[in-house]
């Protein structure tokens, strides 16, 4: 059965000049998962909002939208559910159970049915253990699951997801997508999802539509879409592809394009038939570097009768290195960052640093760094407060804005910038006071793959200038590309710390996709680029 049919759909915002949606034809069948991808500004979100009657933006709409066989405006709105990008802003009430019941209350459903539906949804999505909690106590991942559950409690036939995992860390993102898949597989709910991080979403989609400038460029199975993206060399989506597809592209592969680790291994095994390649592991050379921070046998707890958050923690930090600290939620990563920034002190152990160096920290939500309505004004004010003269300040801003490529954003409101832009602007502000150590808290959250690549470049450039960059992250691929050394924090202690190559090759599960794909075929390759390099070497 056809769930959604778009016929020659065009839309122009009442404030805009161009068509945001341009002549789109699309049919979605019942029980399908359709992934809409495209770079930001390609019209994905507008298209989703047009499908949902209550949220459809104001403007000129041409063409036909048919939902469940009827024109959109006749449809019962509760048959279409929507989960948006920012988890916390979608929550309405103070309690988890009340949030689940909110939509049902709006429909005027009787109490016993509400009791049943909320209970059912909570047990299906594993909310039961935090059913009684306050919504303000939940993590980002839990909040997004709650948003999904409270939409699903209304039993929609079509579920729209607008970049639902872009604000989550990779592990929470995977959990959310698993929940969506389960809902789709077990209840047959049709799903339309936009996303620009394709690695995880690609595998679960039945069809993928690529949007560009308000048009649907291709719409096909994930495999052929991956092949298409690889074919047009300049596609901005190339970096979003799963690692196996990128390896396939970089090794000029033949045959079918792999889209997950299993297929990637099969492909690589065939391409390297009979060869076994081992790359030598480079040791991190830290001997000749100056040690600037030494943590020795650190213990820390927040309250007298709570357990230790950090215990027996040893860590050395060297000048000008990029150190990534990885670890699961609740392993003590944020606590460690706060300790490095001087916010808290250990109750046992010592943190030694050579001299009083300046430390800056980039928070998870980078926009919190700004106070003024205008970026340039904010930066100028900051220079003044640091104590630069007007001329020096202007020079410093000009120089840094060149490095961070934000000169064209000066007149904008800091809250209107995209994720990557906000981050670059925030880094500019932090670098104004010439810090020796820069702490980054989960910097890849809400950033698209191209933004990540840019950030990697910036971190490397800063390290070259002698700034020490310490990053706390969940993002394994990012740390493999960025770090000079990686450290794994588990249960409050550092259990492993070495150069990314030896670090990831020693791990079986906690490692990059590229490593998992190439393990046993090419040993000690960590990134897709490593694999490509080895492939080239073996060809010659």
């Amino acid at each position: 059965m056809e769930i959604l049919n778009l016929e020659n759909l065009s839309f122009k915002y009442s404030t805009g000049q161009d068509y945001a949606i341009n002549n789109i034809n699309l049919t979605v069948e019942e029980g399908e998962i359709l992934l809409l991808c495209g770079s930001s500004g390609s019209g994905k979100t507008t298209l989703l909002k047009l499908i949902k009657k209550e949220l459809s933006p104001v403007g000129e709409l041409n063409g036909k939208i048919t939902l469940f066989g009827n024109p959109r405006d006749n449809e019962n709105s509760c048959d279409v559910g929507l989960v948006m990008q920012n988890p916390h802003n979608q929550i309405v009430t103070d309690k988890v159970w009340h949030e689940l019941a909110f939509g049902l209350e709006n429909l005027g459903i009787d109490k016993n049915t509400i009791r049943l539906r909320t209970g059912e949804m909570a047990s299906f999505l594993g909310i039961s253990s935090w059913f009684d909690k306050n919504t303000s106590e939940l993590s980002g991942g839990q909040t997004q699951i709650l948003n999904l559950a409270s939409v699903m409690a209304m039993q929609p036939r079509l579920l729209l997801l607008d970049e639902p995992v872009s604000q989550l860390d990779p592990i929470a993102a995977r959990e959310f997508l698993n929940a969506v898949t389960r809902l789709n597989r077990e209840t047959g709910t049709t799903v339309i999802m936009t996303e620009h991080r394709l690695e995880d979403a690609f595998v679960l989609a039945d069809r993928v539509a690529v949007m560009e400038n308000g048009r649907i460029k291709y719409c096909d199975t994930p495999k052929s879409i991956a092949e298409q993206i690889i074919k047009d060399k300049a596609s901005p989506l190339f970096n979003s592809l799963p690692a196996s597809s990128r390896i396939y592209a970089m090794t000029n592969g033949d045959g079918e394009c792999p889209i997950d680790v299993r297929q990637g291994r099969a492909y690589l095994r065939k391409a390297f038939e009979g060869k076994y390649i081992k790359q030598n592991i480079e040791k991190a050379k830290m001997n000749n570097r100056q040690r600037i921070i030494k943590l020795h046998n650190i213990h820390f707890r927040y309250q007298k009768n709570t357990p230790d958050v950090l215990r027996q923690l040893d860590l050395d930090v060297y000048k000008g290195e990029s150190l990534c600290i990885l670890g699961a939620n609740g392993a003590g990563k944020s606590t460690l960052l706060r300790m490095l920034s001087g916010g808290i002190k250990p109750y046992i152990g010592k943190m030694k640093s050579d001299n009083k160096h300046r430390i800056s920290m980039l928070p998870q939500r980078a926009e919190l760094v700004f106070l003024k309505d205008n970026l340039l004004e904010d930066l100028t004010e900051c220079c003044k407060e640091i104590g630069y003269s007007d001329k020096d300040g202007a020079e410093k801003i000009a120089q840094l804005s060149q490095v961070f490529n934000i000169s064209n954003l000066f007149d904008r409101h800091p809250y209107d910038l995209s994720g990557g832009e906000t981050q670059r602007a925030a880094l500019t502000k932090l670098m104004l006071k010439n810090p020796d150590v820069l702490l980054l808290d989960e910097p890849t959250k809400g950033i698209d793959p191209n933004g990540k690549k840019e950030l990697t470049g910036l971190i490397k450039a800063m390290c070259k200038q002698g700034v020490t960059v310490i990053t706390v992250t969940h993002d394994i691929e990012f740390s493999a590309q960025t770090a000079d050394r990686c450290a794994l924090l588990f249960n409050g202690e550092i259990i492993s710390c070495s150069a990314p190559q030896s670090f990831f090759c020693g791990n079986c599960f906690y490692t990059t996709d590229a490593n998992r794909i190439s393990r046993g075929i090419i040993d000690n390759a960590v990134t897709c680029e490593d694999v490509a390099k080895m492939w080239k070497a073996s060809e010659e």
């Binding site: 949902k52 209550e54 949220l55 709105s77 509760c78 559910g81 929507l82 948006m84 920012n86 916390h88 802003n89 979608q90 929550i91 309405v92 009430t93 103070d94 309690k95 159970w97 009340h98 019941a101 909110f102 939509g103 049902l104 209350e105 709006n106 429909l107 005027g108 459903i109 009787d110 109490k111 509400i114 009791r115 306050n134 919504t135 303000s136 948003n147 409270s150 939409v151 209304m154 920034s341 916010g343 430390i359 800056s360 920290m361 928070p363 919190l368 760094v369 700004f370 106070l371 003024k372 900051c382 407060e385 640091i386 809250y415 502000k429 932090l430 006071k433």
Partner: protein, 282 residues
């Protein structure tokens, strides 16, 4: 086992309010004493975490200040700076202190028993829209405070806020206005999320997780009859301290009043005993 907390909010709320009312309406020192004891044992049975160490201080303060400022009464105990200190004024002070402490204790129990969920359930039955607003506010306030704290910490780490008061105030105002901007932005998104879930389409109902059972009904009847009897028929509430104290005669109504006020403790104890018993059978 806090069995009393498991009752439907309507029953437990009405019971607690009538206990407070009886304590406040009565001018009888014996009832005040009974109420203090009942409230305190209930407080203990709830294992509430609120601290009560300040209460004896309040009690002492009222008991001492009343005879110093009020010189009514006929039984003079002694003279202080030429002013008579009377027995009646002293007893009246003790009575006042006891009532204040008893009411405070009942409200401490109220805070433990009537959680925000239960309050909203009561409120939602009468005013569903206002209840939703309160629920949204209950989420926004802690969010706003934690947001402010986070922002202050971040701004402080970028440029430490220096001493000068004017500079500090300026920075705090800037942070506050930023928070307002952010929450307004959030509100726009929240509104679309509400609209997307059908807010305003139908007449809203107010869902609560509590079920009204027969036990709740019994407690409700018990509360109403007890309250009506004690306030209107027992005749215990009137009592005169000035110029001369009324005599206190033993009356069976005192016992009934004690039974009424000790009921929640008994319910909790009963729950505890039943629990122990059912555990011992395993």
């Amino acid at each position: 086992m806090q069995r009393f907390s498991a009752f439907h909010p309507i029953s437990s709320f009405l019971y607690l309010i009538s206990a407070v009312c009886i304590t406040m309406f009565s001018r009888n020192i014996v009832i005040a004493a009974i109420s203090i004891v009942a409230a305190f044992v209930f407080y203990l049975s709830l294992k509430a975490t609120q601290s009560v160490w300040i209460y004896p201080l309040i009690f002492l303060l009222t008991a001492i200040t009343n005879p110093i400022f009020s010189h009514n009464g006929v039984t003079v105990l002694f003279f202080l700076n030429g002013n008579p200190i009377t027995l009646e004024a002293f007893v009246y002070g003790v009575y006042l202190g006891a009532v204040i402490i008893a009411v405070l204790l009942w409200f401490s129990c109220y805070n433990t028993v009537i959680t925000s969920d239960k309050f909203l359930c009561l409120f939602g039955a009468v005013m569903p829209k206002a209840a939703l607003t309160i629920s949204m506010a209950l989420r926004l306030v802690p969010q706003f405070i934690s947001g402010g704290r986070e922002m202050l910490e971040i701004q402080n780490s970028i440029i430490p806020i220096r001493c000068g008061i004017i500079k500090r105030v300026k920075k705090h105002i800037a942070i506050f206005s930023c928070l307002i901007t952010r929450s307004l932005e959030g509100a726009v998104e929240q509104l679309s999320s509400m609209k997307a879930r059908g807010y305003g389409l139908h007449k809203r109902v107010s869902y609560s997780r509590f079920r009204f059972t027969f036990a709740d009904f019994l407690l409700l009847i018990y509360t109403i009859t007890g309250f009506v009897y004690i306030v209107f028929f027992s005749g215990l509430l009137n009592y005169n301290y000035y110029p001369e104290m009324d005599k206190i005669n033993f009356d069976v109504s005192y016992i009934l009043c004690a039974v009424f006020l000790l009921m929640p403790t008994a319910i909790n104890l009963w729950g505890e005993i039943k629990w122990k018993y059912s555990i011992s059978k395993i």
